[in-house]
């Protein structure tokens, strides 16, 4: 067995008195795609935010390629170069053009020359069908395009792990497809991804493994075929039943 790319051990976090992550352990192999599903407030997004230190946790360890994310060896920004995140609400910088959004971190944080960063951004934009939109501002783009730009921005430093936090939840239904297509493609290219999603059909298709979270715990995990068609835990069954009733699976 190869060394896991991402290794989470006994992760526990409180918000005040409330236990939001309860002793979570999860290994993600290189090139593996793990989908986290579960009801709102089950801790999925918090788990994701712990991985790239947007949120602090109280107990446990998270390691990338065997090195704890709290290791001083990462320096101030080494971790952020290797782990990218995309948010539900895109969070593009509205006062910057698409090109400036994408090249900000490479130039200012990682010290890459402007010309090189721009060439790299143009290449990525072209690869995702957005080559003509470099000079546009976020508000001039559709939600789907904005989210694609946000994905390109996260990819600009060529990370090895991509975290996706309900990236299609804010999109109009007819725009969801274009974003999912990109994620499919990233999987085909071998990107290691941890995906929080409510798109069960998509999770079933793209995930190598699905984890069902409830009350801050991984209640059940398995291959998507097994977990979706024959869930073992009553809570998983109940959750999937509700999803089916809502017509989302």
């Amino acid at each position: 067995m190869t060394l896991p790319r991402l290794s989470i051990e006994g992760l526990t976090k409180y918000f005040g008195e409330v236990l939001v992550l309860d002793d979570i352990s999860l290994d993600v192999a290189p090139h593996e795609v793990v989908c986290l599903i579960g009801a709102s407030g089950s801790g999925k997004s918090t788990l994701l935010r712990c991985i790239n230190k947007l949120t602090e946790f109280d107990y446990g360890t998270i390691a990338l390629d065997g090195v704890s994310i709290d290791d001083p060896g990462w320096g101030r920004n080494g971790l952020y170069r290797r782990v990218g995140i995309v948010f539900q609400s895109y969070n593009l910088f509205p006062h910057m053009s698409v090109m400036e959004n994408i090249t900000l971190a490479p130039i200012k944080v990682h010290g890459i020359a402007r010309a090189e960063a721009r060439a790299n951004a143009r290449e990525l934009l072209a690869a995702f069908g957005m080559d003509s939109r470099g000079d546009a501002y976020p508000e001039q783009l559709s939600g789907g395009q904005q989210q694609r730009v946000a994905i390109v921005r996260a990819l600009a430093t060529h990370p090895e792990v991509l975290l996706l936090d309900e990236v299609t939840a804010a999109l109009d239904p007819e725009l969801v497809g274009e974003v999912l297509a990109i994620i499919r493609r990233l999987k085909a290219e071998g990107m290691t991804m941890v995906i929080v999603t409510h798109e069960m059909g998509f999770a079933r298709e793209v995930a190598d493994r699905v984890c069902f979270l409830s009350d801050g715990r991984i209640v059940e995990e398995g291959e998507p075929g097994t977990l979706f068609s024959a869930p073992r835990h009553p809570r998983t069954q109940k959750f999937l039943q509700r999803i089916i009733e809502a017509g989302r699976l």
Binding site: L54, N77, G84, F87, N91, L92, F93, K108, H110
Partner: protein, 297 residues
């Protein structure tokens, strides 16, 4: 059998085909000349009538000629105008210099206050005390303390002019307000922007400089312009410490002639400067509102 389907089915089909049953968009109402111009003419006539009546009543009052001589003596206005205008030019120069200093110093204060971490506690405490203190004191009081008090000390190595220290008092006071305006703008930027900046590896300072501050300043620009308009008038406070601005020059003329028309001349100059500024502010506020609404829709 299909022929006997209820007629509403046929109606729906026609609707989907955008057939002739769909009513055409209503033609734009064409106004006759009377409908178009009469309301405007009535408005003009009413304004002329009402204001004319007021003017007539005022000017036909028994004391009006004395009032007119005291305040609206064209000859006195013309005679005082060169000095008043020269004073007003000084007002404008002080205004521009103070405005630049206020915007910069206010920003520094706001940034100091936004610093996090225990090391910066003195900076935060300093800004809180500074803002409480100088927002709580009348500008006039500060102008008197700075403009009369500090030059009297004859401090070595520092300028001794009342103008310099009076202007400093304006900056010290107004910067407290502008710092609060900047702060409100910084706090109004959505948290997701900070999360995105941090996830990209930006430091605290880079996050502020590249992600937060440009948005914050754009958000508070109308309010800052409003402050600039208020400052333009308050520069006249420096006249109390002997700075020969428009108000001071007008007072000097009044003292010599016992005629107050020079003050009215100064007043007109202020209006000529502030009214366009106020309109400009309104314009920016409107543009800003439109931009935000666009963002929402």
């Amino acid at each position: 059998m299909s022929v006997s389907l209820p007629p509403q089915g046929a109606g729906e089909g026609a609707d989907l085909d955008r057939g002739p049953r769909r009513p055409r968009p209503p033609a734009r109402k064409s106004l006759t000349a009377t409908e178009r111009y009469v309301p405007t003419l009535i408005s003009i006539a009413m304004v002329v009538l009402v204001f004319g009546a007021v003017a007539l009543t005022v000017t036909s009052a028994e004391q009006w000629p004395r009032i007119a001589r005291q305040f609206f003596d064209l000859g006195a206005m013309m005679a005082s105008f060169p000095q008043v205008l020269r004073g007003f030019w000084l007002n404008i120069q002080i205004w521009v210099a103070c405005l630049a200093a206020i915007m910069a110093w206010g920003l520094v204060l706001a940034l100091l206050r936004a610093l996090t971490g225990p090391w910066f506690a003195p900076a935060r405490v300093f800004t809180v005390i500074y803002i409480d203190l100088f927002r709580g004191l009348p500008v006039l009081l500060l102008v008197l303390i700075f403009g009369f008090g500090i030059p009297a000390l004859n401090l070595p190595g520092l300028p001794n002019s009342a103008l310099f220290w009076g202007a400093t008092a304006m900056v010290v006071s107004y910067a407290a307000y502008s710092a609060e305006i900047y702060r409100s703008g910084i706090e109004a930027v959505h948290d997701g922007q900070r999360a995105a900046a941090k996830a990209l590896g930006l430091s605290q300072w880079q996050t502020m400089r590249y992600a937060i501050l440009p948005q914050a300043i754009r958000n508070v620009m109308p309010v800052l312009l409003n402050l600039a308009v208020a400052l333009q008038k308050d520069v006249a406070l420096l006249s109390v410490i002997g700075v020969r601005d428009a108000v001071r020059e007008a007072q000097i003329y009044t003292a010599q002639t016992f005629n107050y028309s020079s003050l009215i001349a100064a007043a007109l100059l202020f209006l000529v400067a502030t009214i366009p500024m106020a309109r400009l502010t309104d314009y920016f506020s409107r543009k800003d509102r439109e931009r935000r609404l666009q963002g929402v829709l």
